[in-house]
């Protein structure tokens, strides 16, 4: 099954807003491990979480998450 390949600027936005992974996790209602996994591109967040994060940073979702195509891995 094709899986979307994404790049994200979560770490950059987090640094701009002076937030730790734990603080960001608390604000968007996930665990610190999830924030870490998203930053490391190991986990793709759901649409809801992506919007929530973008809203928190007062930016557009496409500025935070950049779609780069698909690969064949699941």
């Amino acid at each position: 099954m094709a899986a979307a390949v994404m790049e994200n600027k979560l770490k950059v936005f987090r640094a701009k807003h002076n937030l730790t992974q734990e603080q960001l996790a608390e604000k968007i209602g996930v665990s610190r491990q999830t924030v870490n996994a998203i930053e490391a591109n190991k986990y793709l967040p759901s649409l809801g979480l992506a919007f929530k994060t973008a809203k928190l940073f007062k930016t557009k979702i496409e500025e935070l998450f950049i779609y780069q195509g698909e690969n064949d891995e699941d």
Partner: protein, 140 residues
Amino acid sequence: MNNKKYRQIRVLVIFFVGIIVAISLLQDSFLLSAVGIITGLLFLVLVRSKTKIRLDEREKTIREKAANLTYAIFAPTIGIGAFLLLFPTHSGLSVFAKGEFYYLESLGMVFAYLALFLIIIYALSYHFLNKKYGGGGNGE
């Protein structure tokens, strides 16, 4: 109370319950170990109810994939296991004709029913979840 504190308390409770069970084994007291385990479980349930346990979407995804993998491994294993246990007893092989391995057939039957039960549960949950998430509709 957060997740970290809950995990620390859980380790402590498991440690103490382990000590109580060890003591009860030494004293040959079944009642003491039962009381220890039940008290430990009740305490953990109480602590858990006071804890804000965060189950996020990543963990849900991991659980889904783990359940999927478990099904993909377990269902064929018990299905093939049932076949391998049932087939020789009905094949007329002399070693099975004496009835020495009659328990294998019973085990095979248990495996076969277990495989059937698993497939039925999967099919039913798939059907209901498919309906819940809007599959099978003809709306345009």
